[in-house]
Symmetry: C2
C-alpha cells in the first residue's frame, strides 16, 4: 500500500518538474518531442535522418537517454548540433528532473526543435512526462505487427507513431497494414508515418510535418 | 530515501518468493528458464520452434507474461503443452509472486522444462528473480550490434544469450561477430546461440543443449 502511495508521490513530483520544463521550452518557442521505442527500433537512426532531412530549416538540439554508454550522443554529435547525454545507470526511463538538468546545458535561445531520445523501453517511459509537447513512438516492423496491442500504454499516451524499417518488410512476417490498424485501434488520433532509416523512405514527409509543427522563431 | 528502502523491501520479498519457487521446481526436477528480451525480439517464436525441436524428448510447460492480451498464450497452446498466461496490466516485468500463482495452475509432476516468457523489456526484468535456474536473453539482430553495451544489466544476470533473426543479417547494418563479442565483453560466461525462428537455423543445437540441461526424470 505504501509503495503505491510513494509511487504516486514520485509521479506527482515528476509532473511538477515536467510542467516547469514545458513552461521553459514554451518561453523559448521550442517544440519538444519525446522519442520512445523498444531497444533497437531505430530511434538514433531516425534522429540522424531527421537532422539530415531538416538541414538548416530548423535549429535542433538533442538529449540522448541511455541506460549505459554515450554511443548515441557520439553518433548525433557528428551532425554539429548541441547534444547532451543522460546515462541512467540502470534506470529504465528518463525523468523530468534529468531532462531539466540537461536543459541547463543547452543554449535554448537558439533552438526550434528539441528531440529527447528516451531509454529503449516500450513500457516504463509511458508514465513519465518530461515536459514534451508530444510523445512519438517508433515501432520497428521487425518487432511484428502485434506490438501495439501488447504494449498499448505507450501508444495511448502518444501523438505520433513512426513505423520504421519498412525496407525489411519483404523479409519479415509483418503486415504493415495490420500494424498500422492495430496502432490506430489503440489510439485513433495517432499521426502515422512509415519510414526506413536505411533508404530514407518516408523521411521527407516526416521532416515536412515537423516543419509545420516546429514553430520557427520570428 | 524512503523510496529506495521500500524498493529494497520489494526486492527482498520478491527474492524470498523466488527461492520458494526454486525449491518447488527443484523438488519436481524441473529446469526453469526465464526468457527475456526487448519487445519483438522473437521470444514467442523461439518457444514455438523449441517445442517443435524438442518434440516428445522433454515435457515442457510455458508461462506467458504480457503487459496486455493473451495472444502469446494462444500461439503456444496450439502445441498441446500446458500454458498459463499472466497479464501484468501495464506492469513492466514479471515478479516471483505472479509466477508462484501460475505454478499452482500447472501439473508440475509431469514436467521436465518450464519456459517463463517474461514481458518484453530489456531493462526491468533483470532485477527480478522468478526462481528460475537461468535467464536466457534473446537479442534480435535487427536491434543492432551495440545493444549488449547499452543494456548490460540483463546480460550480466544471464547464463545464455540467443542471437536471433540471423536470417535478416544480409539486410541489416549489424555485424554478428561484433554483437557476439559485445555480449561476451559484458559477461564472458554466457553460452551463445545463433538462431533464426523463420528458417529454424540453430534451433537443433539449442534444443540439444536444453536436453543436456533439462534433467529428465528417471
Amino acid at each position: 500500500m505504501s509503495v503505491i502511495t510513494i509511487e504516486r508521490k514520485v509521479l506527482e513530483k515528476n509532473d511538477e518538474i515536467a510542467d516547469q520544463n514545458r513552461a521553459l521550452l514554451k518561453r523559448h518557442g521550442i517544440l519538444a518531442i519525446n522519442l520512445v521505442s523498444s531497444p533497437g527500433a531505430g530511434k538514433t537512426s531516425l534522429v540522424e535522418r531527421t537532422l539530415e532531412g531538416l538541414g538548416k530549416r530548423l535549429k535542433v538540439g538533442v538529449i540522448e537517454g541511455d541506460v549505459q554508454t554515450d554511443l548515441d550522443a557520439r553518433r548525433v554529435e557528428r551532425y554539429g548540433v548541441p547534444v547532451v547525454q543522460i546515462v541512467t545507470n540502470g534506470g529504465c526511463h528518463l525523468e523530468a528532473k534529468l531532462v531539466q538538468d540537461a536543459l541547463l546545458q543547452i543554449e535554448l535561445r537558439d533552438l526550434d526543435l528539441l528531440i529527447i531520445e528516451n531509454v529503449g523501453n516500450l513500457v516504463c517511459p509511458a508514465n513519465y512526462d518530461l515536459g514534451e509537447a508530444m510523445k512519438a513512438v517508433v515501432l520497428s516492423t521487425a518487432e511484428g505487427d502485434d506490438k501495439p496491442l501488447k504494449y498499448p500504454g505507450m501508444l495511448r499516451n502518444a501523438s505520433v507513431v513512426i513505423l520504421n524499417k519498412i525496407d525489411l518488410l519483404p523479409y519479415l512476417n509483418c503486415n504493415l497494414a495490420e500494424l498500422k490498424s492495430n496502432a490506430l485501434q489503440i489510439n485513433s488520433r495517432l499521426e502515422v508515418f512509415e519510414t526506413s532509416c536505411t533508404t530514407s523512405a518516408g523521411i521527407p514527409r516526416w521532416c515536412d510535418w515537423l516543419m509545420t509543427k516546429g514553430a520557427r522563431k520570428p
